[in-house]
């Protein structure tokens, strides 16, 4: 594929994209005045891919394999790659979410050397029975650590009730029991299915020359001989939720809640839906809204309150949350306000104000190279690019948003998850 170079006037940023012959897609944003350079390699494979298709058949694995792979790729024949990065002045890390496994580093000098290490890390797996067993102790403690985070527990309680079939209803790490079932062979099966150039994106930001990246990348990235690539399974998620309410007691000082709405309106224009929903949430209950002010004054919510929309290729969820003594009262007030707004129609002045705010926040996000790289990684599995987001603001129409509000905020598709003081 030809290299495509775009300059965005309002953002004052340039991005070069190119799909290399191996199939890997490169996104390069040169930022000359930054001292740090960053590369992030995203694999379109995450904790949601518990079951997937290869060739004609379906493969079923224990939950937590994507995350386990992320840990294990840091080891190769010669030892721990962490140390090789440190020697080259690279600060390396990785993360796994529902749809992506990403490996990234930042450095100041030796960008090329670090990039080569990153590609080696991802392209050269080395799993043995012994090193797989050893990792179970570390991941076991990671799982325990997250279990003690009230907000993490609350979130996964909510997810497991919201989603009946999609594997986003499990912990990303899998459970302590799940990881016991993982072995070397399972890791290789999943690795071979998804760790392929055509399933990867390489995102580089900083004072970087694109041609150099293409060259290094083409020399080191190749796919396995086996032509059978893993394909994501399209599970049909029912519109209904499993259970509308879940509560757990933990050592916390006061009640915490999350209220999630499952998006059953996954329309064609996913980008507009994604950006539009974020604007909508702010319109309805953002800090400058009537509802926020009313609930804050009542003492029902406080500065910990937030509302967000998160989505992947197969799902979308609007989540409201924070400290609140009576989450059901919040739920009722929210639905009433949405009813009011949809009946009266949206206020154009306020909508413009919200769009202005989100446009400015988006521009600001380019201050930090890590934020920009993570955002592009998240867009990759949705087949979208950074600048699309900026241009999308122009497409937001009040009618479309009102329709979306009516369809999306349906109490039958919502789950309230609560953590109460034990």
């Amino acid at each position: 594929m030809e290299e495509k170079v775009l300059y965005h006037q309002a953002l004052r940023e340039t991005i070069a994209t190119k799909k290399l012959p191996s199939g890997i897609k490169c996104y390069i944003m040169p930022k000359k005045d930054y001292v740090e350079k960053m590369a992030l390699l995203a694999v379109n494979y995450g904790s949601e891919d518990v079951s997937f298709l290869v060739g004609g058949g379906q493969v079923d694995t224990p939950p937590g394999v994507a995350h386990f792979l992320e840990h294990k790729l840091f080891e190769d024949l010669e030892g721990d790659l962490f140390q090789a990065f440190t020697k080259a002045g690279g600060d390396v890390n990785a993360f796994t979410n529902y749809n992506t496994t990403a490996y990234h580093f930042t450095c100041i000098d030796n960008f090329e050397e670090n990039l080569k290490l990153l590609l080696r890390l991802v392209m050269k797996p080395y799993f043995t029975d012994e090193n797989v067993e050893k990792e179970k102790g570390i991941i076991g403690q990671e799982i325990q650590m997250y279990r003690d985070y009230p907000s993490w527990r609350m979130f996964f309680n909510m997810q497991s009730r919201l989603y009946q079939r999609l594997y986003i209803n499990r912990d990303i790490t899998g459970s302590a029991e799940d990881i016991q079932r993982i072995d070397k062979d399972i890791l290789y099966t999943c690795y071979n299915a998804f760790y392929r150039p055509e399933n990867m994106a390489l995102i580089c930001i900083g004072d970087i020359v694109p041609e150099q990246v293409y060259e290094i990348c083409e020399g080191l990235v190749d796919g396995p001989a086996d032509k059978n690539m893993g394909r994501h399974l399209n599970l049909a998620e029912p519109k209904e939720v499993g259970e509308p309410f879940v509560s757990e007691d933990m050592p916390v000082s006061r009640t915490l809640f999350q209220l999630g709405f499952k998006d059953n309106d996954l329309t064609e224009d996913r980008l507009a839906a994604m950006v539009g929903t974020k604007v909508l949430l702010d319109y309805v209950v953002g800090e400058s809204s009537d509802l926020y002010e009313c609930l804050y004054q009542k003492g029902l919510i406080d500065g910990s309150f937030s509302a967000e929309y998160v989505c992947g290729p197969s799902y979308g969820t609007s989540i409201f949350g924070g400290y609140c003594e009576d989450p059901k009262e919040f739920n009722d007030a929210l639905l009433l306000e949405i009813e009011k707004i949809t009946a009266a129609g949206m206020d154009m002045g306020r909508l413009d104000q919200m769009i202005k705010k989100h446009r400015g926040s988006f521009i600001r996000s380019f201050n930090t190279i890590e934020t920009t790289a993570n955002l592009q990684a998240d867009l990759f599995n949705k087949n979208l690019e950074l600048f699309d987001l900026m241009d999308c603001f122009d497409r937001l129409e009040p009618d479309m948003l009102t329709q979306r509000m009516k369809k999306h905020f349906n109490s039958a598709a919502s789950v309230l998850s609560v953590i109460r003081p034990s």
């Binding site: 930022k31 005045d33 930054y34 001292v35 740090e36 721990d80 962490f82 140390q83 990065f85 440190t86 020697k87 002045g89 600060d91 390396v92 930042t106 450095c107 100041i108 990792e135 179970k136 102790g137 570390i138 991941i139 076991g140 403690q141 990671e142 325990q144 650590m145 279990r147 003690d148 985070y149 009230p150 050592p251 916390v252 000082s253 006061r254 953002g286 800090e287 400058s288 809204s289 009537d290 926020y292 002010e293 003492g299 406080d302 500065g303 400290y323 104000q353 919200m354 202005k356 705010k357 446009r359 400015g360 926040s361 521009i363 600001r364 380019f366 201050n367 930090t368 190279i369 034990s422």
Partner: protein, 419 residues
Amino acid sequence: MLKTIEIKPGVQLHFSPDKKFKTTIICVLFRRPLCREEVTLNALLPGVLKSGSNKYGTLKEINGYMDRLYGGIFDVQIIKKGEEQLLQFYIEVLNSAFDEGLLEKALEFLAEIIYQPKVWEKGFYRDITEREKENLRLFIESRINSKSEYLKLKCLETMCGGDAFGIYGDGYSEDIDNITEETLYQHYRKVISTSPLEIVVMGDEEKNRVLTGIKRIFEPYLPKEMMEIKPSRPYEKKKDRDMPLEKEEKLGLSQAKICMGFGSGIGATGKEFFGYLLFSQILGGGANSRLFANVREKESLCYNISSFIYRFKGILMIECGVDIKQMDKTLDLIREEIGQLKDGDFSDEETESARESLIKVFQGFQDHPAAIMDFYLSQYLLQDQSGLDEFINGIAKAEKKDIVEAAGKLYEDTVYILQ
């Protein structure tokens, strides 16, 4: 990089005309010495002051104004730095290249919030004060919800009990009931009329324009005389108690969370400090450190383990989470690693790797506005004249003997365990 310009005695502008960021940050900081008598009063001011001013009467009006400034970010908060409690007013807007005049609007807005609060007779509004008292009380009680933060706080409190640094920057719930809208307002008058003031401006703006703006907008409010604040001093060893002091708190957690606090008496500047920084980096500063390599990777005992330094006090802390049955084994291993470093039993390779990692971290600050601001503010409060380059040079020049010397001063003071 930030340059300090005196507006008048006790009032400084710290300015950096950085071209690469999209936004301009303006930060106004009132400095108070941490003391038990006024800590909660100070902690209550952010909530009350950001609830409304004369011109922006409500939270909704303030936030609506921020929306119109292209999603400007505004906050008032308390920051604890060493033995000081800073009342910080923060605003971040797109810089003047995106929209002419945003700089002045932001400065005017901050001055309005700081100096024109909503006042009723002799105090703040009662309903606002009462609501924010409740919010603060709940906030203080919610410390326990973030186990890692709570653990560090409890370890520091146990360690520094009677010192200023042992005081919680966010205040104490038992003080709240006695505060009224009138006493709080009187305290507010005292804060704005006696506290030394630091104004930080960072972004693609012209210096003269910034100076003119600040003089025009802030000068009428600036006090005639200001109190003096003594710089923080390193933590001193407690002579009247066991070392280390061990405390356990049972919360019914899935794992034991350990926090070890160490004293050293090492100051925040100079050769010895750089040796200390390197020591902490070799010990538990990252994936290449002793603790990570041995306690996590070799023994598979934990997922998170790290060490770090509270620069203002010369305190080193180690934090990790392990299986409850493995607690003693983990503590032994940690102590063993420290013992080896004290004996100078570490390679040049380890030193160089730690040095490179640290240098990279501090060089990287240049890409993060918040990090630059924090660094220069710390330098200023510590009365350390050196800039980021000189600081990095200090790390580059530290030798093995500086590391061993710093390690020699380290002593285990407190172990706090949450289960």
